[in-house]
C-alpha cells in the first residue's frame, strides 16, 4: 500500500517534468500550427548551457536563469534562420527541416562539449532528502521539481487565460488569419510564442540535468513522449497538456507496475519476464490510441476556426 502511494507520487512527478517539456511544444504547435521536432534538442541545449554556465558561475540558480535565457535566444536565432521560412508550408516540410536541425544540433553539442556525458550537480540547498518509506529517501530536489511544474502550469494558465497577450494567443490558435486581419502583428506574436517555448524547453533541460545524463541526443526520446502528451491533451491546450502529462506519468509509473504484476499472475514468473516488459512499454501508446478513438482531437482540444 505504501509502495502504491509512493508510485503515485513518482508518477505525478514524472508527469510534471513531462509537462515542462510539452508545454512549450503544445504552444508552438497550437498557435503557429508548426511541428517543431527540434523542441527536444532545445531541451538538450538547455541542459548543456546549464552545465556550461554552472562551470562559469558555480551557482545552480544563476546557471538556471542564464541557460533558460540563452536557450530562448538560441530558439529565436533558429526561428529567424530556419523556422520562419516554414510557417506557410506543409507539415512534411516542417518535419524534414526541423529533423535536420535535430541532427545539426546533436552533432553541434558533440563538437563543442565532446561526446562524453557531462555532470550537473544538484543545488546545495536542495541536496537533502526526507524519508518516504523505510529504506527509501525522497530528494528535496524532486519536491522542487513538482513545485516548478505546478508553478509553470499556473503561470501559463494565467498568462493564456487572463492577459491580453494570452487572448491573442488563444485567438491565434483558433484562427491566425483572422487575428492578422484585425491588425495584430502575427509574426511578432509567433516570435514571442516561439521564444517562450524555447525558454521552457531550456528551463526543463536545466532542471532535468541533475537527474539524468547530459549527453548528445538526450532530448530525442523525450520528444516522442512530449508528442504523446500533446496529442492526448489536445494540440494547443495548456490545460490538456497538463492533464495528459500527469496521466502519461502515472500510466508509465503505476501502470507499468500493475501490468507487469497482472501478467505475472496470468502467465507465471517466466512468462511475465518475457511478456510483461513488452506490454508495459506499449502502455502509454495504448492509452493514446484509446483516447484518440474516443476523442480524436484529444482530451481538451483548443477551439479551432475553419
Amino acid at each position: 500500500m505504501t509502495l502504491l502511494i509512493v508510485q503515485l507520487l513518482n508518477g505525478v512527478q514524472l508527469g510534471l517534468l513531462l509537462f515542462l517539456i510539452a508545454a512549450g511544444l503544445t504552444l508552438v504547435f497550437g498557435v503557429m500550427d508548426f511541428i517543431n521536432l527540434a523542441h527536444g534538442v532545445q531541451y538538450m541545449l538547455g541542459a548543456y548551457l546549464g552545465v556550461a554556465f554552472f562551470g562559469m558561475t558555480g551557482s545552480f540558480w544563476l546557471a538556471l536563469v542564464l541557460a533558460a535565457g540563452a536557450a530562448g535566444a538560441a530558439g529565436l536565432v533558429l526561428e529567424w534562420l530556419v523556422f520562419r521560412h516554414l510557417y506557410g508550408r506543409d507539415h512534411l516540410d516542417q518535419v524534414l527541416a526541423t529533423f535536420g536541425v535535430i541532427m545539426a544540433l546533436n552533432e553541434g553539442v558533440r563538437v563543442i562539449w565532446g561526446a562524453a556525458p557531462l555532470e550537473m550537480p544538484m543545488p546545495e540547498v536542495l541536496s537533502g532528502s526526507f524519508q518516504l518509506m523505510p529504506g527509501l529517501r525522497y530528494p528535496f530536489y524532486r519536491v522542487a521539481l513538482i513545485v516548478a511544474g505546478l508553478g509553470v502550469a499556473g503561470g501559463l494558465a494565467w498568462a493564456v487565460n487572463r492577459t491580453r497577450v494570452g487572448m491573442l494567443v488563444r485567438a491565434g490558435t483558433s484562427n491566425a488569419v483572422m487575428v492578422s486581419a484585425l491588425g495584430v502583428d502575427i509574426e511578432r506574436l509567433f516570435r514571442g510564442v516561439f521564444g517562450v517555448g524555447a525558454v521552457l524547453a531550456g528551463f526543463a533541460g536545466v532542471l532535468a540535468a541533475p537527474l539524468v545524463a547530459v549527453e548528445p541526443a538526450m532530448g530525442d526520446n523525450l520528444l516522442i513522449l512530449a508528442f504523446v502528451v500533446i496529442v492526448i491533451g489536445g494540440v494547443g491546450a495548456i490545460r490538456g497538456a497538463f492533464v495528459a502529462a500527469v496521466l502519461v506519468g502515472l500510466v508509465d509509473t503505476v501502470g507499468r507496475t500493475l501490468v507487469t504484476d497482472a501478467v505475472r499472475v496470468a502467465l507465471g514468473a517466466s512468462g511475465a519476464a518475457r511478456v510483461g516488459p513488452a506490454v508495459a512499454s506499449m502502455l502509454i501508446y495504448l492509452v493514446m490510441a484509446a483516447v484518440l478513438a474516443v476523442r480524436p482531437a484529444g482530451l481538451f482540444p483548443a477551439a479551432r476556426g475553419a
Binding site: 505504501t2 509502495l3 509512493v6 508510485q7 513518482n10 508518477g11 512527478q13 514524472l14 517534468l17 546533436n106 552533432e107 558533440r110 565532446g114 561526446a115 562524453a116 556525458p117 557531462l118 555532470e119 550537480p121 544538484m122 532528502s129 524519508q131 518509506m133 523505510p134 529504506g135 527509501l136 529517501r137 525522497y138 530528494p139 530536489y141 524532486r142 532535468a208 541533475p210 537527474l211 539524468v212 545524463a213 547530459v214 549527453e215 548528445p216 541526443a217 538526450m218 526520446n221 523525450l222 516522442i224 508509465d252 509509473t253 503505476v254 507499468r256 507496475t257 519476464a273 510483461g276 516488459p277 513488452a278 512499454s281
Partner: protein, 384 residues
C-alpha cells in the same frame, strides 16, 4: 577523422617512397551519436599503441582507415564492404557493439581478411560457429556478468534484485548473472532503453529490501540510474553491475558512483608494468581516464604488432592467424592469451569506483573472482 585519414595518407606515402611493405588496417568504431565516447576510447587506444611503435606494426608501416559505424549495422556493412573492395583492409579492428559485429562479420571474414573485435564478444561465434580469421581481445559477453553473479554467491547474498534494459543484451546479461548466483531473485525488472526516470524501479528495490542489486545499464540510462539510486538513499544496498559504472560514465556520475561495484577484466590500477605505462601515456595524450574499451583496443594493437612481426606481414593470412594464436604480448591485463575459439582466456575482477587524488574517478580492482577463465562456449568450438 580527417586527421587520421591524413595521417594514413602520409604514412602510405612514406611506405611507397621507401618501397617497404605496408599493412592495411581498417578500424570500425562508433564515433557519432550518444555512444561516441565509447568509440573514441577504442580508436584512441589503438592509435596510442600505433604511435608508440612509430606508426608501425610488426616493423611495417601502417595504412590506417578509421570508419564511423554510427551504431547502425547497415551503415557499418556498407562502409566495411567499401573498405574491403577497395583493398584497404588486410585486417579489420572493431566494433564496439555486438549488433554491428553480427552485421559486418560475414563481409569481413568471408573476404579472407582478419577480423579482431576489441569489445563485442557475442556467443554466436564463440561456440560451433567459430572461425579461424576472427579474434576477440575483450571477453565473451556472458563473462563480465557472471563475475558479479559469482561474487554475490561468494559473499553469501541471499536475495538479489536485477535490473536491465528490455532487449536481447539485457536478458543475456541477467542470464549471465544468474548462471553463477544460486540465491533468490526478489525482483527482475526490464526497462525501456529510452527510460530516464527510475523512481518506480527504485521504490520497488526499497520495498524488496534485497541484500544487493545487480544492474546492467549501459550508457545514459546507467548515469541516470546511479545518480537517482544515490539520491534515494539506497547506496547502503551493495550495487553490483557491468558496463554501468566505468571510466566512460564516471565523469558524468561523479560522487554518486563512489563505492559501486562492477565486474571487469581490467581496471586502470591493475598492478602490472605494462598497464601503468599504458594508463600514464593514455592520460597524457588524451586527457581522460581510459576504460576497458581503450585497454582492449590497445591490446589488439599489441597482438597485431607481435603477429605481423612474426608472420613477416599480412600477405600470408594462414601465417598471420597462426602467429596471432600464439602471440605473446605484454598485455595491460597481465596474463592474456587466446583460447581455442580465439576468445581470450583471462582473469576477471570485482572492481569498485573511487575518487582519485586529482579529483577524477576510476574503477579499482578489489578482488580477483575468476582466474584464467574460459568462456562457456569454447568447448563447442572445433576450429578447422
Amino acid at each position: 577523422m580527417l586527421r587520421h585519414m591524413l595521417g594514413a595518407v602520409a604514412l602510405c606515402a612514406v611506405g611507397v617512397g621507401a618501397q617497404a611493405q605496408t599493412v592495411k588496417i581498417g578500424v570500425v568504431t562508433t564515433l557519432s551519436g550518444p555512444a561516441a565516447s565509447l568509440g573514441q576510447q577504442l580508436r584512441d587506444g589503438f592509435q596510442l599503441a600505433l604511435d608508440q611503435s612509430g606508426g608501425k606494426l610488426g616493423g611495417m608501416a601502417v595504412e590506417l582507415t578509421v570508419l564511423d559505424d554510427e551504431l547502425k549495422p547497415d551503415v557499418a556493412v556498407t562502409k566495411v564492404r567499401g573498405l574491403i573492395e577497395s583493398g584497404k583492409a588486410d585486417v579489420v579492428v572493431g566494433p564496439i557493439f555486438s549488433n554491428v559485429l553480427l552485421a559486418i562479420f560475414k563481409p569481413v571474414t568471408e573476404s579472407g581478411a582478419v577480423l579482431i573485435s576489441p569489445n563485442a564478444g557475442p556467443s554466436t561465434y564463440a561456440g560451433r560457429a567459430c572461425v579461424k580469421n576472427f579474434f576477440v581481445t575483450s571477453y565473451q559477453n556472458d563473462q563480465p556478468h557472471s563475475v558479479s553473479g559469482q561474487y554475490a554467491q561468494d559473499s553469501g547474498y541471499k536475495r538479489v534484485f536485477l535490473l536491465a534494459p528490455n532487449y536481447q543484451a539485457g536478458k543475456d546479461a541477467l542470464a549471465g548473472f544468474k548462471s553463477k548466483f544460486k540465491g533468490e531473485v526478489v525482483g527482475e525488472e526490464y526497462v525501456p532503453l529510452t527510460q530516464m526516470d527510475f523512481q518506480s524501479e527504485i521504490a520497488k528495490i526499497a520495498a524488496a529490501k534485497p541484500d544487493a542489486v545487480y544492474a546492467f545499464m549501459p550508457g545514459g540510462i546507467g548515469i541516470a540510474l546511479v545518480k537517482q539510486y544515490r539520491q534515494a538513499g539506497l547506496a547502503s544496498v551493495p550495487f553490483l553491475s557491468a558496463f554501468t559504472v566505468d571510466e566512460s560514465t564516471l565523469p558524468a556520475q561523479g560522487e554518486a558512483a563512489v563505492g559501486f561495484y562492477s565486474g571487469a577484466n581490467w581496471a586502470p590500477n591493475l598492478d602490472n608494468a605494462a598497464n601503468k605505462a599504458f594508463v600514464a601515456a593514455f592520460e597524457a595524450k588524451y586527457h581522460y581516464v581510459p576504460a576497458t574499451y581503450a585497454a582492449q583496443s590497445f591490446d589488439a594493437a599489441l597482438a597485431l604488432d607481435a603477429a605481423i612481426g612474426k608472420a613477416g606481414g599480412t600477405a600470408d593470412k594462414a601465417k598471420l592467424i597462426a602467429a596471432l594464436e600464439t602471440a605473446a604480448i605484454a598485455s595491460v591485463r597481465g596474463s592474456f592469451k587466446f583460447g581455442v575459439n580465439h576468445y581470450p582466456v583471462q582473469d576477471f575482477y570485482l572492481t569498485q569506483v573511487v575518487k582519485r587524488a586529482d579529483g577524477k574517478f576510476q574503477t579499482e580492482v578489489r578482488k580477483k573472482v575468476f582466474t584464467a577463465d574460459v568462456d562457456p562456449y569454447a568447448s563447442q568450438c572445433k576450429m578447422n
